[in-house]
Subunit: 453 residues, 2 copies
Amino acid sequence: MSAVHDYIDANLPRFREELFEFLRIPSVSARSEHRQDIRLAAEWLAAKMREAGLTVAIEATPGHPIVVGEWRGAGEGAPTVLIYGHYDVQPPEPLELWTSPPFEPTLRDGRIYARGSVDDKGQLYLHIKAIEAHLRTAGRLPVNVVVVAEGEEEVGSEHLIPFIEAHAARLKADAIVISDTTMVGAGIPTISASLRGIAYFELHVEGPSTDLHSGAYGGAVVNPAVALARILASLHDDEGRITIEGFYDDVRVDPEYRRELARVPFDEAKFREETGAPALGGEAGFSTVERLWIRPTCDVNGLLSGYTGEGSKTVLPARAMAKVSFRLVPDQDPRRVERLFREHVERVAPAGVRVAVRALHGGDPWRARLGGPLYEAAARALEKAFGRAPVYAGEGGSIPIVPAFERVLGAPVLLMGFGLPGENAHAPDEWMSLENFEKGTHAAAALLAELAG
Amino acid sequence: MSAVHDYIDANLPRFREELFEFLRIPSVSARSEHRQDIRLAAEWLAAKMREAGLTVAIEATPGHPIVVGEWRGAGEGAPTVLIYGHYDVQPPEPLELWTSPPFEPTLRDGRIYARGSVDDKGQLYLHIKAIEAHLRTAGRLPVNVVVVAEGEEEVGSEHLIPFIEAHAARLKADAIVISDTTMVGAGIPTISASLRGIAYFELHVEGPSTDLHSGAYGGAVVNPAVALARILASLHDDEGRITIEGFYDDVRVDPEYRRELARVPFDEAKFREETGAPALGGEAGFSTVERLWIRPTCDVNGLLSGYTGEGSKTVLPARAMAKVSFRLVPDQDPRRVERLFREHVERVAPAGVRVAVRALHGGDPWRARLGGPLYEAAARALEKAFGRAPVYAGEGGSIPIVPAFERVLGAPVLLMGFGLPGENAHAPDEWMSLENFEKGTHAAAALLAELAG
């Protein structure tokens, strides 16, 4: 294995140059004017995967193509690893807030600044380079490998799961590895061991058939904006607990995981400072880390009613709308949460208004099946690359493809990410730590060896 | 006096034709492209006032002109009546909702349909015709008269009060008569005996310095939209009472006026149907009429936060805003309500957000000084014209110039309106009852006689 790692060290400057080439392609999946750039990025990536030694196909979908690279030389007795990543990026706007242009990658203070650097081109490309290192030095990989790189992650991965389902036999794997998450701090290798699910709704409150004059009608006609505020306020108690009946029934408290999270070196003061909020808050009885990773939430994502322009308009609005979403934890089910939310809203809505709940979007929560060969191999690989054992952290967000991968392929997912807090993944001045790109390449190479057992 | 009323009856068709001419001028004060039409309306009105026998001046203001007509022939010992009205109108949009064009007055089913018919050209012009009837038959008026017609009522009467203040000696009067309000029902002459005041605010709640990802931060960062909903929900109790400490301290309950209002024939079922709301509601322990006219309110006029477009966006908003207004009753003071509202918001705002209250607009409540020569004369005049004694109703809205007139000129205001429920004053298909235009002219003529004592 030392030959592999020596190869990586010797070729790091070239790897970085290649990543910069990849980052120069503005493969913004959300904008139709970038369709050619998306195509270009898929072809560039396919070429590099071929150079590394994989057999590559660019698979068409009704949307952007999926690049699939395979190496089956380890034989049927050896495990197969599926590595997933994405080559599309978020839109770069607002451009004026970038220190250097988003598609001109720039190294400053040990950080690679560019749109897509950490999300996810850098984290995907380090796996390709790890594969290359094995194939160029040993002429083979320790395990069978399938790389799946999609071009629609930033717009919802609409065609990925149908593709996986359609090609389940070809993509059959013993483990799925994804590098698209964040370490809890510099130098602290991190395995993301849980994701929250989501249940997202629009809540509509309707009263009078048109906007009324608040002088002529106010006091005797129930105000939909007031009714909406009262319904929203009824969703939490004064301790920050969600008051929907039955909401916590399926929340599985895992004392061992809670102890694991208590060991995560989480800098709360820095986190607060990053947000700009005057103080943190949340559900009583839980730490910030627990509130973020293992507790469900209810957030209002949007509010709209009546007159919102400049100055005063004395309107009693006909309707009011809120976007309301819940983050879910195992074993909560977005479909059951929908039912409970509807029941709650019906129960608390005042007479004089009509309420309607529209479900927009749901995703299951996920918790890693810690232990077993995949997680043991990952722990050893990360310790080799970073010089210390990994911590197990949660992620507050939702990655719906993770539970979907497990469901369709029946194999465990490992979230081994190399981002860092403050990396601006969806904001101007996105960056990836150059050190993490390099150590990540070593970790990815080591993981393949460790998985061979 | 019968000669005056005979003259009116004989000339009603001409009065109506003249009103139609007045209504054809699109004197929309809110639109600069109608500046010439405003000027034309002022000149047309001035000419008609001169023809009626008044001495007329078109007084310039920094905005639209004020037309002042005077007749002082009753002598210094006789009372002086100031009649106020306005010749500007609301914008007619949306045009496609008008059955006949807004500036082509059309008589249908006994209603004059046109923008400005009831608000306020018809109600102003009937006073001019009443004056004409006296001067053409008796050669004199029973009292001294000053007519003040402004062209900025629909845009806030910015220059009226400064004008009245600057000309207080010239405009000195014993009574002020305004016809710009509504009768409680057809055939029921109505004196509006109270107006609610107003205190209008913007409430801002700020949390994180930028919008955050609700997955990555939700649960540990206080959500400004949730905080706003909780603050707004704290403004009422479950009985619809406003919970701001001290808010009701200055509410003067007048049992006699309450008994008067209980006699008003108010059709609650029809009122609810008009609003389109599934049910009425409001403060426990009060009737609909009381909730509308003699109880203060707190309404949310607008809400805005986070993402309000189509679909789902998982944002934890940086800020949330509400427009919040209170309707006030005697003796509440908008300045004191501002202080109490600020104190309440500061007290209930959760840690983790900053709150700011911006006062946008205030107006005093008003209650008529019932009784005395003015109200006794009005009751007799209305009974003569309509064949029954007037009822005393409240108005839920605010007309800031009413308390201002009383303050500056030191004379009581009489609100003797000839509108009807459903007249669409600020909406498409505005109309005025032809019968009310005619009976209103008789009532206005009778009032001048009754005021002479």
